[in-house]
Each structure stands twice: as C-alpha cells, then as structure tokens.
C-alpha cells in the first residue's frame, strides 16, 4: 500500500505554533521508510498522525488514494510497534499476540494459526505461554513485532523499536528487521533518531528538523549529496567538517585564511554565481588526502587520536585553533602533537550557501 502525505500540518491544543507544517511525502508500496531526526523534531507526531493516534490539523493523509484523516486507527489496516513495546502485562505472550484478532472476532483456529505462524518466524515459540514480565528485553521486542505481524497489516509503523536494546542486540535486530521486511513485503514506516539505523535499514530516508522535512531520498544520496548543512552534519559519524569562508576569484578561501580550495570544473560552474559571497564547505573526515588534485593543502597539529581499530580518528587543530576531524585507516601511523599536511579529495567537497544552508553543487 502506498502512503501519501499531502501538505500535512499539526497544531496541538493550547500551543501557539504549528508543530508540523507543509509535510509532503510519498511512500511507495513495499518501501522501508525511515523518518529520522533529532528529538523534538516532530517525527513521532508524524507517525502518530499516520497511525491515527493524533488528529491531523490540516492536509490529507492518503492510503492508496483513500483519504484516511477521519478513519479511526483500528480501521486503517495498520499495526504499530511501540518504543516501550506496550505489551499487555496481564496477558501471556500468546494472548498478547492474539488480542487484536480476537477483538476483530476472528475464528479461534485462524487466530491460532496466525499466532503460530508469527511465533515460528520470530522464534518465540518456547515462551508463548509466559507473561511479558518473565522474558528478556530482546524477547519482548520480538513479541511486540509478532503482535503487529499477526494482523497482516498493509502498513507497519515502528516508533524507535530498538532504542531499549543493548548495542549488540540492536545490531542483530536491525538485520532481522530488514530480513523480516523482505519476507513480508509490507510497507514500513520507522521512526528513529539513530542515523546508523536509518542508513542501514531504509530504502528511503526522511530527515526532519524543526517540523520540516530537510531531505527525503535514498541512504547514499544522504551521505554523498546532503541537501543542506543540517543534513550534512546529521548524517555520518564522525560529523562532517564545515568550514565557513567565501569565493574569491573562483577559489574558496576560509574566513581564517588558512585553507584554500580549488573546486573541480563542475563545481566551479555552479559556484560562479557565488563569487564574493559567503560559502560553507563541507568535507567528510575520510575524504582528506595527503596531496590533493590541485595541491591545496593545509597543515594541522594533531591533538587527540581515537583508535577504533579499522580506523583512526584524528582531532587536529589549525594554527588559529579551529578544529578539523580527520579519519584515516587504522594502520597509518599518527601520533599526538605531530604536524601534518592534509589535502582534499576534490570530488567529495560539498558547497553550501552559508546564508540559506542549501547545497550549491
């Protein structure tokens, strides 16, 4: 089922401003759409509006071209996995999973078959008759998924379902969820603040901030062509380096004058209009080189080295004290207090308009 959000806005009772405004989004059938954003950006509100738990102030919510604004959530053919799992504590795992079907007055043997099917897929058969309080966090997570699955919904909604698990289990469940999505083929909408989850699981990412969609697209677009400075800084770890400066004679010169960058031919074209105007440059920590195509280098003193095994992260300082984060392969030898020259991979430089924050090249 495809989900379309048309100019959707939300204003809470007793609040002055709109929490969400002008949200336009199209989620195709079988998409795994991740809504990403820092806390308080309105992503959960958006999900709850799709779920029918919050009302829609303006705009249209369409499921397969049917307007869903006023349809109660139980009739929307959706299922949701909550952050806290929201398992009914007084019911066994089996009853938890069977609850929604029995509320729909489904026949007993059909319910049993569906529950067993889901339990099989999620490997939770052994504790079908335990109470939620008797099973571990990861198992509860599976039960919550199973409870949503037995309904065979057309849309799966998930609200930070992995945030309560420990790191190892989270990694494992991430893969599991992707596998599950592949097997079921249900349109899924997944809310998270964790960019790793978004990058690894999504077929489509929607990044939100301040109640607005900042960028929507495929994960690699996010990493390689961020639409604005916010997206550039939000995606990727360590964070992208942003250097403020301006265009002087077709070259980028940083405000402190220590860094000069000659843009590639393609970039130079789109930068023509910005001659003499403030421009910000973004470069990912792993895209520094020793020389660089045009020989633009700068020297920096290494302050801190973070050894992560496969890579080393260098926190370096320029002469004037501004910080640059550089990531290098782990077997390169760098030590604290050394001074090194670094250049840029010209293909990987992002230019942004400093005033609007929008991407230029």
């Amino acid at each position: 089922m495809n989900v379309v959000l048309n100019n959707i806005g939300k204003k809470y009772e007793g609040r002055e401003a709109f929490t969400l405004k002008n949200i336009n989004l199209e989620i195709d059938d079988k998409d795994f759409c991740v809504i990403l954003g820092p806390s308080g950006c309105g992503k959960t509100t958006l999900l709850r509006m799709i779920a029918g738990l919050n009302s829609i102030t303006e705009g249209d919510l369409l499921f397969d071209n049917k307007r869903m604004n006023k349809v109660p959530s139980k009739d929307r053919d959706i299922a949701m996995v909550f952050q806290s799992y929201a398992l009914y504590p007084h019911m066994t795992v089996y009853d938890n999973m069977a609850f929604s079907l029995s509320m729909r007055k489904e026949r007993k043997n059909i319910i049993h078959d569906r529950v067993m099917e889901a339990a099989e897929l999620l490997q939770i058969k052994e504790y079908l008759y335990s109470k939620p309080s008797d099973i571990s966090g990861g198992q509860r997570q599976r039960v919550a998924l199973g409870r949503a699955m037995v309904r065979k919904p057309s849309v799966f909604l998930m609200d930070e379902p992995l945030s309560n698990l420990d790191a190892k289990l989270r990694e494992h469940m991430r893969v599991e969820l992707v596998r599950l999505h592949k097997a079921l083929g249900t349109t899924s909408i997944y809310v998270t603040h964790d960019q790793t989850e978004a990058m690894t699981m999504a077929t489509k990412i929607v990044l939100m901030n301040d109640g607005k969609i900042q960028q929507a697209g495929k994960p690699d677009e996010f990493y390689n062509r961020p639409a604005n400075i916010f997206v550039a800084k939000f995606i990727g770890s360590p964070t992208m380096n942003i250097i403020d400066g301006q265009m002087v004679k077709g070259k980028f010169v940083a405000n402190h004058g220590l860094i000069t960058i000659t843009p590639s031919k393609q970039d130079a074209k789109s930068l023509e209009a910005f001659e003499g105007k403030p421009v910000s440059v973004g470069i990912r920590p792993e895209r520094f080189e020793s020389g660089g195509e045009f020989g633009d280098t700068f020297s920096a003193t290494i302050e801190v080295v973070e050894m992560l095994g496969k890579e080393k992260i260098l926190y370096a300082k320029l002469e004037n004290g501004s910080e640059i984060i550089i990531s290098t392969p782990g077997h390169y030898k760098y030590a604290v207090d050394e001074e090194h020259n670094f250049g840029f991979d010209v293909e990987a430089i992002h230019f942004f308009d400093t005033e609007t924050g929008l991407r230029i090249n």
Binding site: A51, Y88, M103
Partner: protein
C-alpha cells in the same frame, strides 16, 4: 558422637557491623516496638478471652476466673438484633464498595487519560471538599433525605448512608486511582486502541486488570468503612432494626437497660469475620507488581 566443626562465621550483611551504641539503640527500639505491640494486642486478647468466658457477667472484670462457654454468643444471637445489624452492615458495606469501585473506575480513568475543560479546577475542588468531615453536613443530609423520600418513598435512611459513604470514598479514591493509572504507560492505551478497543474496552480489558491491586485496596477500604463508623449511622438511623453493627453493638455498652459487656466483646469479635473473609478473597489481587514488564525492563 556429634562432630563439632568450627565454622568460620561469614559476615553476609551489606550493612556495616553495629557499634556498641548501635547495639544499644537496636535493643531500645525493639523494646519500644514490643511495648507498642503489647498496647495493641493486650486489649484484643482481653476481648477474645472475655467473649468466651462464661464467668463474666454484665461488666467485664479483669480476673483469672475462666470457664469456657458460648453463653455470650447465645445472648447476642437470641436476645439482641445482632443478625439484622450484620445484615444491614454487610448490605451497606457491599453496596458502598461496589458503588465506589464503579464510579471511581470512571473518574480515575477519565482524570488520568483525558484532557477536558475544568479538569484541574474540579480535581482541586474534590481535594478541598475532602477536608470537610462528612459529619458536618448532617443537617443537609437530613433535609436531602426528607426531600428525596417524599418523592421516592423507597429511599431509606440506609440508602442515604450508602450515598454518604460512597460519595466520601469516591473523592479520595479518585485521587489514588488516578495516580495509579498515571503510572501505567499510555502506549498501552494506544496499542489497545489500534488493536480495536473502544475507550470502555481499553479500561475494561487493559487498564482495569493492571490496576487491580489498587482497585482491591479501594474495595477493601470502602467495605471496611461502614463497619468502623459509628457516628453517622447512630445519628441518621432511627430504629434499632436498621442499625449497623457499630451502632447496634454500642447499645450493649452505653445503655444501662441493655448493658452486656461480654456480649459486646463477642459481637466485636464476630465483626472481624466478614472483613477477614473479604481480605482473604482479595489477597491475590492485593499482591501488586503486576504492571512490571509491560514496558521496557
């Protein structure tokens, strides 16, 4: 032969070992607690012993004469209106408990889950009204009763009493239940709603089972209330046939014509029976901690 093996004593407590002063303070606090317990238990023992003591006459004498007999119970059952008092009390207590439970369920759930105009002011009003003792409104109760019963003659004074008890109980228990339901994650409501529950079903199928320990306590307390209260029934109920236990038994110690202290003790002893029975029935529900594991653990 018993083998004596010197075992090295392991200190297993997580607390620091007691100092000399600590030991003295510990002994002192045990003495205080013991005396306190005695002050509560001794009268109770005395009551139980007197109730079965055939040697006791009209007044209870504290002496060592004892002869087991059920004479006082016999007096209580045959010479007084004891059974109708029991019947009245249980009727009043049960109705109060049921009425309180039903209404508190609605109010507690509504105050916890819904935002509506006047929510805060009405909560405040409920809290403030509680500070006024129920007895203060006794004249108003009289008038209300006479007005209502002139229209609906079946409205007895006992029913008035039930309304007063339930009304008082609803106010305080709404607070308690609201607090308890507040601690239940609203995501459970959301989940239930998406699973197809109406608001009533959310309460009946999800919230009520989780709040059961609290509901059991509310039921127990509203049930016990009428057993304990003497003043209101004494003033409001006029004929001995309609007395509750507390009011009825009191006639056995305050009126010279009907004075019989050992029978009063026997009656008091029996009063505990229905309360203990209810307690045993509710015991399972009173065990709390049911809401563990609903959300992240």
């Amino acid at each position: 032969m018993v083998k004596t093996k010197r075992k090295e004593k392991l200190y297993l407590s997580d607390k620091q070992p007691l100092s000399f002063m600590g030991v003295i303070m510990l002994i002192l606090s045990y003495i205080v607690l013991g005396l306190w317990a005695l002050a509560i238990i001794l009268p109770l023992i005395d009551m139980i012993v007197s109730a079965f003591n055939g040697r006791q006459q009209q007044y209870i004498m504290l002496n060592s004469n004892f002869e087991f007999s059920l004479r006082h119970f016999d007096y209580l059952f045959n010479e007084t209106l004891y059974f109708s008092w029991v019947k009245n009390t249980i009727f009043i207590a049960l109705t109060t408990a049921v009425l309180t439970l039903i209404i508190v369920s609605f109010t507690g759930f509504a105050y916890s889950r819904y935002r509506f105009k006047g929510r805060k002011p009405s909560l405040m009003a409920i809290m403030l009204i509680q500070t006024i003792p129920a007895f203060a409104g006794i004249t108003a109760y009289y008038t209300m009763h006479s007005v209502i019963s002139s229209i609906a003659p079946f409205f007895s004074r006992q029913m008035m009493l039930i309304l007063i008890y339930a009304g008082g109980g609803i106010a305080s228990n709404t607070f308690i239940l609201k607090g308890y339901i507040d601690s239940i994650s609203t995501e459970l409501d959301d989940a239930a709603r998406m699973d197809g529950c109406s608001s009533m079903q959310v309460y009946r199928l999800i919230i009520m089972p989780i709040a059961r320990p609290m509901l059991a306590i509310i039921a127990l307390w509203s049930f016990i209330g009428p057993f304990m209260d003497y003043l209101l029934p004494r003033v409001l109920l006029t004929s001995p046939e309609s007395y509750t236990l507390a009011a009825g038994l009191f006639t056995l110690i305050n009126d010279f014509r009907t004075l019989n202290q050992p029978a009063f003790a026997a009656g008091g002893l029996l009063t505990a029976v229905p309360i203990v029975a209810l307690f045993i029935v509710l015991q399972k529900q009173l065990v709390s901690g049911l809401s563990q594991g609903s959300v992240k653990g």
